[in-house]
Symmetry: C3
């Protein structure tokens, strides 16, 4: 009973343009003029300006749900420099990715089988002529995405390059340390304050119900739960999030605020003995700005035996 | 000369997801993959996180203007708990409402004739399989809305439940008190600072041109006007707003800021003698934080004789 | 290989409604009900409330890229007053502009050949009946835009008026002063902090590589460059922006913050001798609020000889 959208009929669109300026609307207007039947789906336009990492991770989270067609991504601190405008073809998906060659697409591309072909967008027949050099979304990337949807072959759009030479993404890898703990990094803090870590839940399979989370200003004991509602008020929980990664959460509140951590923060997790040994914060550093010495409010627990 | 959109070809979409994360785009991508011809109209995605009341009131204000099809609403503090995912059929409108059973739809449903049927969305054939349990918009509600648009009958989607058992909305009712005043509540403060009250203008039909408004830090005399421009600078006006409810406004400024009130605030209105008796604020509490005693700057007016 | 969208099949939509309230979604719902095949492209809805100038400039920047059809613009501090709701036909473009007659469209209209016809929207057959008088986007402008797309002729929509009597826009003009300097105004500060001036780059054609920029709290020497990357860290550059106007920029930072200027600020530019004479700020006013006397930290340079 469900249907499939026609091939190359959808452009999934992510930028750091914001929604206050008319940038996004202008790119969509250009697409509409070239490829009137294409549907544009906004993935996000509120990526922090020039935050390639955040844009790349958002594309990676979204890519497996996108309709086939073109992914148009513009987070481009190097606009109008020597960085290359590119289009990428991938192995496992009927879609192309169009934007700057700066690593923005690397995480998503690796999730859909890797790049099988790429071109530098140097055929200006498929660009708009620009009064100035600073709006490649309007003048290059948008028009090229639209022309791809109209059936223009990839090789028409520019000079082929070896896809293995594309700028790689820098994705932090979690590390298992000798003491059994895992050094992780915060990949993402969502609107609700949930804290996604670069940790596969399988790494914790042999651990018990409780886990210690060191990060921000404190060490907290977190309960491994399957839903937010199992986290009691004021406590911290570890869930498998909607992307299959480990995430720190509190019930109806912001775990990021609670733990004072943000995207890119380092977090260490280790197996804990359980709620009787450490049900509450054990070491708290003062949140007062300018006071850097940790204030010990309880003795550190014995090293966990998992 | 005007046409009608085909049945079940529109999804009206409201969430508290925000527009920074890729949540909204992912749900739209899922819908596009299942029901490629459906048009999604964003009602709002900037409902405050978990604010069921605000989301429900926005849906109620919008519902009579929506195209027939499906209302997809996700403000869901209880995601992945025992609250039920539901789809509702209503009496007076060719549309279904899909989302959590937490009262979000109650105000809108009551405006379109009440619920005539409802199902719990427990037929997982119409869901996506989820790597984690926390994104029901992507995994349950979005796919179900899309399948409804593709013609799947309501009863296919899950187990029927008695619609009278749906979680009710909590809509504050204004109260006429013995002294002739009306105790009201602020339903909504819009972007422009206009303050919508839960008061039918008919309740004031026999009142004079001027009305006293007690709320926030002050009692103000407001003029009943038919347009913002009739409100002189620095004064407060009472208008019938674009939804037919009584609203407090100031000309080209924010009435909410002027009166220091917000959504959910209590306001009392009473008939006033007119501008000569009380043209200016009569009792002002200091806005200084920490100073709670009211500062009387003028004698209280005599009780109005309306 | 590119196609054209059908005539009158696109509505380009700009407002100051914001995206939190349901205003935009309701107008789109009304359009969908009247003209189901029309595509609405959001230009921006985050124009500052009542900022006709900013809305008008955004439309002017976008208009040459818009698909033909209808431009629906609502920035309307005078809603429900004597200002007229209008539709405008223009000379060089197959499109109509619909909204309030308050100067919002004037800059865009002048870019597409000027208005050739206009009507006051007083034929209520093409409006929605409104419960209150304050939402003309929903009740008048949205429905009229949709009916225009359905083929309703302009003259059907209301009484013709002389387009030369439309409210003009107020566009600041830069001035060449006797000392060879140019008095300019900041038209726009974009999300990235780039500062667009009302200056045609041709006015600087005979100038050298370096230009002095006086504005905000300081006088800076700016280098004329063709891309952001040519601006060294901490320096200021002058580029031709993507709309062909002169803009002040810093590399991967906000020129508006760096120079402490905003939309509407006055800026004076004059030819400079080059980097050896004035490579760094020469006069700095203290940014401390309340301290108004300029603090001279270096002697003023000799008047440039260009």
């Amino acid at each position: 009973m469900s249907a499939s959208p026609p091939e190359r009929s959808t452009i999934s669109f992510l930028t750091d343009y914001g929604l206050k300026d008319e940038f996004v609307g202008v790119v969509k207007s250009v697409i509409r003029s070239i490829a009137p039947d294409v549907r544009v789906i906004d993935i996000s336009h509120d990526i922090e300006p020039h935050d390639i990492r955040a844009g790349g991770l958002a594309l990676a989270r979204a890519v497996q749900y996108m309709a086939p067609g073109v992914v148009l991504g513009v987070v481009d601190p190097g606009v109008a420099t020597e960085r290359k405008p590119i289009a990428i073809e991938v192995a496992d998906w009927e879609a192309y990715l169009v934007g700057p060659d700066n690593g923005l697409f690397a995480p998503a591309v690796s999730l859909v089988g890797g790049a099988t072909a790429a071109v530098i967008l140097d055929n200006t027949n498929y660009h708009l002529s620009a009064p100035g050099p600073t709006f490649d979304g309007r003048d290059i990337f948008g028009p090229v995405a639209a022309h791809l949807c109209q059936g223009v072959p990839l090789v028409e759009l520019g000079s082929p390059i070896d896809p293995s030479g594309l700028v790689p993404g820098i994705l932090p890898v979690s590390q298992a340390d000798d003491d059994g703990s895992i050094r992780a990094e915060v990949l993402w803090v969502d609107r609700f304050g949930n804290v996604q870590l670069n940790v596969d839940p399988k790494e914790l399979e042999s651990w018990g119900e409780f886990v210690q989370v060191e990060g921000g200003r404190s060490t907290r004991t977190a309960k491994r739960v399957t839903s937010f509602a199992e986290i009691s008020t004021g406590s911290v929980g570890l869930v498998v999030d909607s992307y299959g990664l480990l995430a720190i959460a509190v019930d109806q509140g912001s775990a990021a605020l609670e733990l004072a951590i943000d995207e890119g923060s380092q977090v260490r997790i280790r197996a804990a003995d359980g709620p009787t040994s450490a049900p509450s914060p054990v070491v708290i550093q003062s949140p007062v700005v300018g006071q850097s010495k940790p204030t010990t409010v309880a003795p550190s627990p014995e090293p966990s035996t998992g």
